[in-house]
C-alpha cells in the first residue's frame, strides 16, 4: 500500500512553544484586522462599505494608466482600478456612495466613452450598494459569524468533553483569524464572499480536529498507564496520514477553483486554500496542545 506517512513518531506536542508563538502572532494580526474592520479602516469591499463597482470589457487592449488619468480628470474620487489583461477587462471600484445611487457609474461610463472613442466596451457588471445596505450587510455578517460560532460550540460541547471543546474551538478561531490576517496583510478586499469562505473554513477545519480528538479519546480509554501527553502524541501520529490526505483532496479542488474558477471565485478559493493549510496545521499544533494545557490546568476530568 502507498503511504505518504508511515509510522511516524514525531513529538508534536513538544514543539508547542514555537507553534504558540507563530499562531499567537497570526491571531493577534487577525484580531487587529477585526478592529480595523470595525473602525472602517481595512480594505472593505463595497458590499460592506457601500459604493460602486464596474467591470468593463473592451474590444482592444486598454492602458490602465490612461483610464486612471481620464477618471481623475473627470473628477472621480477615491477609486481603485484593476486590470485583467488576458480578457481585456478592467475593474473600477469607487467607494463611499454619498451621491444618489447610479450617478457614479453614469459618470464613469460617460468619461470612458468620451475618452476611448475607438475602443468600444460593454459593461459586464455593475454593482451599486447604498450606505444603508452596506451597514446592514455588515451587521448580517457579524451575526452570521456569531451564530456559526455558537452553533459549532454547542455541537462540540455536546459531543466532546469540555477540555476538547476548548481545544477545538480555539483551533477553529485560529484558522479563521489566520486567514483573515493574511488577507489583511496582503491588502485584499474584506467582503461578503470572504466571510462566506471564513465560515466554511471554520466548519471544515473541525473535520480534521474531530478526527484527531476521536482517536485521542479512544486511546485515552485503552492506554491508561501512559501519560496524557504521550497518548496525544501517539494519536496524532497514528491519524497523521488521514489528516493530511483529507485536507489534500479539498486542497486539490480549491486549487482547481483558484486557477480555473474565474475572477469571481479567485479570492474565495485563495481563502479556502489558506484555510485548509492552516486548518491542518492547527489540528496538529494548536488543538491538542490547548486540550493538554487545559488538562494541566486541572480542568481535565481526572482519568480513572
Amino acid at each position: 500500500m502507498l503511504e505518504f506517512i508511515k509510522d511516524t513518531k514525531i513529538d508534536f506536542l513538544g514543539k508547542r512553544k514555537y507553534a504558540f508563538i507563530f499562531s499567537g502572532i497570526l491571531s493577534l494580526v487577525g484580531i487587529f484586522a477585526i478592529i480595523q474592520i470595525a473602525n472602517g479602516k481595512a480594505n472593505l469591499g463595497i458590499d460592506f462599505a457601500g459604493g460602486t463597482s464596474l467591470q468593463l470589457k473592451f474590444e482592444k487592449p486598454i492602458n490602465l494608466h490612461e483610464v486612471r488619468v481620464a477618471l481623475e480628470e473627470g473628477g472621480v474620487r477615491d477609486f481603485d482600478l484593476q486590470d485583467l489583461p488576458a480578457v481585456q477587462k478592467i475593474l473600477i471600484r469607487a467607494k463611499k456612495a454619498d451621491q444618489q445611487l447610479g450617478q457614479v457609474s453614469d459618470t464613469i461610463t460617460g468619461i470612458i466613452s468620451k475618452k476611448f472613442t475607438n475602443n468600444r466596451y460593454v459593461v459586464d457588471s455593475t454593482t451599486e450598494i447604498g450606505p444603508k445596505v452596506g451597514g446592514r450587510l455588515r451587521v448580517d455578517a457579524a451575526q452570521a459569524v456569531a451564530m456559526a460560532t455558537l452553533g459549532i460550540l454547542i455541537y462540540i460541547a455536546i459531543r466532546f468533553k469540555f477540555d476538547f471543546a476548548v481545544g477545538a474551538t480555539v483551533a477553529t478561531f485560529h484558522d479563521a483569524l489566520a486567514v483573515l490576517a493574511v488577507f489583511f496583510l496582503l491588502g485584499k478586499e474584506i467582503n461578503l464572499i470572504l466571510i462566506t469562505a471564513l465560515l466554511t473554513i471554520a466548519g471544515y477545519s473541525l473535520t480534521d480536529t474531530v478526527v484527531v480528538f476521536d482517536r485521542i479519546r479512544e486511546n485515552l480509554r485503552t492506554r491508561l498507564k501512559e501519560p496524557v501527553e504521550a497518548v496525544m502524541n501517539a494519536s496524532i501520529n497514528e491519524v497523521l496520514s488521514r489528516t493530511v490526505v483529507t485536507s489534500f483532496t479539498v486542497l486539490l479542488t480549491s486549487l482547481a477553483l483558484f486557477f480555473f474558477g474565474g475572477e469571481v471565485l479567485h479570492d474565495f478559493s485563495l481563502a479556502m486554500i489558506l484555510g485548509v493549510i492552516f486548518g491542518t496545521y492547527s489540528t496538529i499544533f494548536v488543538a491538542s496542545p490547548i486540550a493538554l494545557f487545559w488538562e494541566r490546568m486541572g480542568f481535565f476530568k481526572k482519568r480513572k
Binding site: 459586464d124 457588471s125 455593475t126 462566506t196 483529507t246 479556502m272
Partner: protein
C-alpha cells in the same frame, strides 16, 4: 449475492435514475425527449441565478415618511375647508409631518378632533399642533409599500420582462429581480420614476412673475430659488421647465411661477399613448381621462380660459400652454422633446400609475449576459479539473479501493445535481464553488474509512472484519465532521444574500448526500466483494 446487498444496490440504482430524470432538463438531451415526457416528467431542473444568466437585482426603499407627509398635506387642506364651512377662523399650516392650527379655541379643537380621530395633538397651547397617530402613520407607510409594489409590478409587466421576481423585504423595501434583461438602465428608470402627474395654474399676473428671468443656465436653479424665497406669496412656488434649443441643442431652464394648489393629478387617466407630432416629427404622450377626470378637466379649463396651465411630472414642468377654450373630451398632451424610448417609457409609467411616495434605490447588482456565460464555463472547468485531480489521487493512493471511492464521488455529483434539480434550486457562482468543494470533501469520508480499514488490517483482521469494523469506527468521526459543516451552511443560508444562499444550498446538499454515498454506496461495494468468496487481500 446476499439479499440485503442486492436491495442496497437497487436503492442506489433508483436514486441515480431519479437524479437523472430530475436533472435531464438541464442537459441538451431534454430537447429530444418525446412530448409526453416533457409534459409529465420533471421539466424545470436547476435554475441559474442572476449572476450566472445575467440580469439585475435591485432593492428600493419606499420613502414612507414622504407618503405620511403627503397625507398630512391632504388633511391640512381638508381642515381648511372644514373650518371654512363651520365659519371658524384659524390658520392651518403644515410643516413636515406636523399640522399647526392657530389660534387655539374650543370650537376649532372640537371640530377637528371629531372629524379626524386619526390626528393626535402634540401641543395644545396658544396654537394646536397635530400629527398623525403612530398607528395611522404606520398604516400609511405599509399601504405605500404595498401600493408601490403593485405599481412596480404593473410597470414591469407593461415593459415586458420574462419571469420577473418582485417582492417586499423588511417593512419598506422592495426587491426587484429581472433575469436576462437587455437594457437594465432603462428598466431602473421606469421603476424608479415616481410619475406624479400634476396640473397647476401659472401665475403670470403677480408682480413677482415679471421679475423672474425667462431662462437660466443649468445649475443656477438653487440660486434663483434663494433669491426669490421671501418674495413669492405663500401659496405659490417656482418650478422649472427644461428648454432644449432645436438648432444648437443647448439646454436651459425656464423658471415658472405656479399656484401651489394641484388642480388635477394623473390618478384619473385611463390611457396614455405615444403619438408623433407632425410638425417636428417628435414623439409626445397623449393622455385620456376617465369620465370623472374629463368632467373635472372641462370645469378647470372652462374656469381658467386665457390663463396658462402647467403640466408637471415629478416636480418638473413639461409644458405650460395657454388654455384657449374649455376643453371637453378629456384629452391632454405631454410634450417635451422626448426620444421615442423616453416617450414609450413615460406612457408606461403613466398607465401603470404613480408611486404613492418616491422610492430610492439602495442596491443595484447588474450582470451582463457574457459575464454569466464566462462564469459558467470557468466553473465547469474548475469542477472538471478538480474532479480529475481527486479521482487520480484516490486511485494512485488507494488503488482498487480508490476506484470504489471514485465511484462514490461520481455518485455524489450525480445525486447532488439531481437533488438540486428536484428542489428546483438556484445555482449561483458561489454555488458552483460549493459543488467543487463538495467534490473535495466527498472523498473525505472514504479516506477516513480506508485509513481505519488499514489500521484494522495491520492488527491482523481479515478483510471482511476490517471493512466492517472500519466502517463502524469511522462512522461517528464522519458524522461529527459533517454536522459542523452543515451548521455553518445553515447559518450562511439564513443570513446570506442570494449568491451565498446558493453556496449554502450546494454545500449542505453535497455534505448530506456524502453520508449516503459513503455508508450505502461504497460500503455495498465492499460487501459485494467480500460476499463472493473469502477475500485474502484488500487492495487498499
Amino acid at each position: 449475492m446476499k439479499k440485503n446487498i442486492l436491495s442496497r444496490f437497487v436503492l442506489i440504482g433508483i436514486t441515480v435514475l431519479l437524479a437523472i430524470v430530475f436533472f435531464l432538463p438541464n442537459t441538451p438531451f431534454f430537447r429530444y425527449m418525446p412530448e409526453w415526457w416533457k409534459n409529465t416528467m420533471p421539466n424545470k431542473g436547476i435554475t441559474l441565478g442572476l449572476d450566472l444568466q445575467g440580469g439585475v437585482h435591485l432593492v428600493f426603499e419606499v420613502e414612507g415618511d414622504r407618503a405620511v407627509e403627503i397625507t398630512a398635506e391632504r388633511i391640512s387642506q381638508s381642515l381648511r375647508e372644514l373650518l371654512g364651512k363651520r365659519k371658524l377662523t384659524a390658520e392651518v399650516s403644515r410643516n413636515g409631518l406636523l399640522i399647526t392650527v392657530s389660534p387655539n379655541s374650543m370650537e376649532v379643537r372640537k371640530a377637528i378632533e371629531e372629524s379626524y380621530p386619526i390626528l393626535t395633538a402634540a401641543e395644545t397651547g396658544t396654537k394646536l399642533v397635530y400629527k398623525l397617530s403612530d398607528r395611522e402613520a404606520e398604516r400609511i407607510k405599509d399601504n405605500a409599500a404595498n401600493q408601490a409594489l403593485e405599481t412596480i409590478r404593473n410597470r414591469i409587466d407593461q415593459f415586458g420582462v420574462a419571469e420577473p421576481t418582485i417582492h417586499r423585504q423588511a417593512a419598506n423595501e422592495i426587491v426587484v429581480q429581472l433575469p436576462g434583461i437587455k437594457d437594465p438602465k432603462r428598466a431602473i428608470e421606469i421603476i424608479g420614476k415616481t410619475a406624479q402627474l400634476e396640473f397647476k395654474l401659472v401665475d403670470d399676473s403677480s408682480p413677482v412673475a415679471a421679475e423672474i428671468p425667462a431662462s437660466i443656465r443649468m445649475g443656477e436653479e438653487d440660486a434663483l430659488l434663494a433669491k426669490f424665497s421671501g418674495k413669492i406669496p405663500a401659496d405659490e412656488e417656482i418650478l422649472f421647465e427644461k428648454i432644449v434649443n432645436r438648432e444648437t441643442g443647448e439646454v436651459t431652464k425656464r423658471p415658472v411661477l405656479l399656484k401651489k394648489e394641484t388642480m388635477m393629478t394623473g390618478d384619473l387617466l385611463t390611457e396614455a399613448k405615444v403619438n408623433i407630432d407632425q410638425r417636428f416629427n417628435e414623439p409626445y404622450v397623449s393622455i385620456t381621462f376617465n369620465a370623472a377626470g374629463a368632467k373635472l378637466f372641462e370645469e378647470i379649463t372652462g374656469a381658467n380660459v386665457k390663463k396658462r396651465m402647467a403640466i408637471i411630472l415629478d416636480g418638473t414642468v413639461y409644458s405650460a400652454p395657454v388654455i384657449q377654450e374649455r376643453i371637453s373630451g378629456g384629452n391632454a398632451q405631454i410634450t417635451g422633446r422626448f426620444s421615442m424610448d423616453e416617450a414609450k417609457d413615460l406612457a408606461i409609467v403613466l398607465r401603470a400609475g404613480a408611486l404613492p411616495a418616491p422610492i430610492k434605490m439602495l442596491q443595484n447588482v447588474t450582470v451582463g449576459p457574457s459575464l454569466g456565460t464566462d462564469s459558467i464555463e470557468a466553473g465547469k472547468m474548475a469542477g472538471i479539473i478538480g474532479t480529475i485531480l481527486v479521482v487520480l489521487f484516490m486511485i494512485i493512493y488507494y488503488k482498487l479501493s480508490g476506484v470504489i471511492a471514485d465511484f462514490a464521488l461520481l455518485l455524489n455529483v450525480i445525486l447532488l445535481l439531481g437533488a438540486m434539480a428536484s428542489l428546483n434550486a438556484t445555482l449561483t457562482m458561489p454555488g458552483i464553488a460549493g459543488i467543487v468543494l463538495a467534490i473535495g470533501m466527498a472523498v473525505d469520508s472514504n479516506v477516513l474509512m480506508f485509513e481505519r480499514m488499514r489500521d484494522e488490517l495491520k492488527t491482523g483482521k481479515t478483510p471482511r472484519a476490517a471493512v466492517d469494523s472500519g466502517y463502524a469506527k469511522a462512522f461517528w468521526t464522519i458524522f461529527d465532521s459533517h454536522v459542523t459543516t452543515l451548521i455553518t451552511a445553515a447559518v450562511l443560508f439564513q443570513f446570506g444574500t442570494g449568491p451565498i444562499k446558493g453556496f449554502a444550498v450546494t454545500l449542505s446538499l453535497g455534505v448530506a448526500i456524502n453520508l449516503f454515498t459513503a455508508f450505502i454506496g461504497t460500503k455495498s461495494i465492499f460487501d459485494l466483494i467480500n460476499s463472493r468468496k473469502e477475500v485474502r487481500q484488500l487492495s487498499i
